[in-house]
Amino acid sequence: MAIAKVTHMGARTVEDVREDFPILDRTVHGKPLAYLDNAATSQKPRAVLDAIRVYYERGNANVHRALHALGEEATAAFEQNRGKVQRFLNARSKSEIVFTRGTTEAINLVASSWGDKFLKKGDVVLLTDMEHHSNLVPWQLLCARKGCTLAFIPLTPEGGLDLAAAEREWTDRIRMVALTHVSNVLGTVNDVKTITRLAHARGALVLVDGAQSVPHFRVDVTDIDCDFLAFSGHKMCAPMGIGILFGREQLLEQMPPWMGGGEMISAVYREKSTWNELPYKFEAGTPNVEGAIGLGAAIDYLHGLEFSAIEAWEAELARYALQRLQEVPALTLYGTAPRRGAVISFNLGSIHAHDIAQYLDKEGIAVRAGHHCAQPLMRLLDIPGTARASFSFYNTFSEINRLHDALLGAAEFYA
C-alpha cells in the first residue's frame, strides 16, 4: 500500500486537523463517517462555529446605521471581514468585494446588471461544456431577454478545454467568457489565466466561477486578471448563505443595481433614488453578517493551515484515490486532465450511480450521485449520471481504502 509523501499540514498531522471538525467523529449506520462530498459542501471547523456563536452572544446588531456600540461593533466586524476577503483574493480595493448569498447569486448579479446594460442583440456569451447549471441558466435567461446567443468551448477527450478550437472559432460578437475554474464533475483545473489573456486581447470580459477552486488553492484575481470571480463560503468551511462577487471597480461602477432596498441607496425620493457607493450599491437589505463573520473566520482558519499544505495534501489524496479506484474492476473514471483537483467522478459497470451511493452510505461513506447540476455535460458523456467522491484536506488515505473496499462490495451486491 502506498505511503503518503505528505503527512502534515504545516505543523499539524491530518488526524490532529480532523479534531477541529466536530462532525467528523460521528457515525453513520454504525460506521465512522467518511465524508467524501466536499464539492457539495465542506464541514465546519470549531473556529468558524465559535466565531458565529460569539457574534450572536456578544455582538449582534444590524449594521451600517446604528449609532449604538453594538451596531458599531457589528459594522466594524462586517467590514473587517470584507477586508479579509479582499486581501485573500488580492483584490485592489474593498469596493470590489460584494457579499452575496453564494456563487449562484453572484453570477446572476453579473448576468442581470452587467448583461442587461451592456449586451446587445446578436452578442455572444461564451461558456464551456463543463459548466454547472448556475453558470449556464443565468446566461440563458439573459440571452432570452436580450436576443443574445450562447456558445460553448468544447472539451478534449481528457476533459480539458479545447482552447485551440475556441481560438479558431472566436467571433468579435463574444462579449463575455464565463467559465468554471475547476469542474465540479471532471475535476479539471482550467487555465483561466490563459483564457483571460485570450479574451481580453479580443475585447471580451471574463467571469470565473471559483466555487470549486477558491476552497482548495490560492486564487489571486490580480494574477489571473479576471473581471469577475464568484464563489461560495460554504464549500470552504464557512456557513451556507454567504458568498462573494469580486468585480473590477470600473466595471462595478458602470453597472446598475440589480436589487432595490435598504443600504443600496444614497437618497430616496418618492419618484426616484440615487445609489450608494460601491460595494453597497449591490447589497440591498440587511446583509448576512453572521455569514461574513463565519467566512472571515474560515479564511483565518485556512491561512492557519497554510494553503500550500492544503493543496499538497489534497493532491496526495487525489493521486491515491485515482490509483485505488483504478484497481476496482469495471470502474470508469470521467475526467483525466493532467491538472485536476480532488474531485473524482466514476461509474461502476452498469450499476446506477444512485445504487452505488446508497451502498456506500450503508458503509458510512458519503458521496454524491447524479448529474451534479451539469446535465449538458452528462448528455455529452452519454450517461445519466455519475457517482462522485470529492475530497478535502481533512480526508485520509484510510477513508480512500474504505471507499475502494465498499466499491468492491457494491459490485458484488448488485451483480
Binding site: H352, H354, H371, P384, G385
Partner: protein
Amino acid sequence: MNTFDDLYQEIVLDHYRSPRNKARLDNVPESMVHENPSCGDAIKLEVTLDDSGKVTGIRFDGRGCAISTASASLMTEKLRGLTVEEARSVAHRFIRSLRGDEPLEELDNMGDLVAFKGVAQFPVRVKCATLAWHALLLSLPEVKGTSAA
C-alpha cells in the same frame, strides 16, 4: 433496523437482476419517454389491451436504478389481467402510500409490491419506485364512463 436491507429486499434485487417484460421498444416514440431528470432515469411503456379493455401485457424499456427497474418489472406482472380502471386504481394506491398520502400499510395488501415498503424511509428514492407507475398513468387510455381515480 437495517434500512439498507429494507430498501433492497431480495425480491427487488431479483427483479433488478432479471427484469420481467423488459424489451427494446423502438416503436414507442421518444415523446412517450417518462423521465426523472434528477437522476437521469427514463422509461417508456407499451400497454396492450384486449377487446374487453383488460391489460393483456405491459412491456418496458429504459434505464434506471435497481429500485426503478424492479418496480417497473413488478408492475408489469401485477397489472396483467386487470381492467384499465383497476390498473389505474392500483397505481394510485401504490404512489399515494409511498408518498405518505395514504397509510404505508396499504402495501401489505398488494402482494409483492409490499417489497417497496422500505423505500418510504428514503424520500429521495420514492421517485425511483414510482417512476414506472407515473409512466403507466400517462400510457393508459382514458376509459369512457370512468370516474376520475
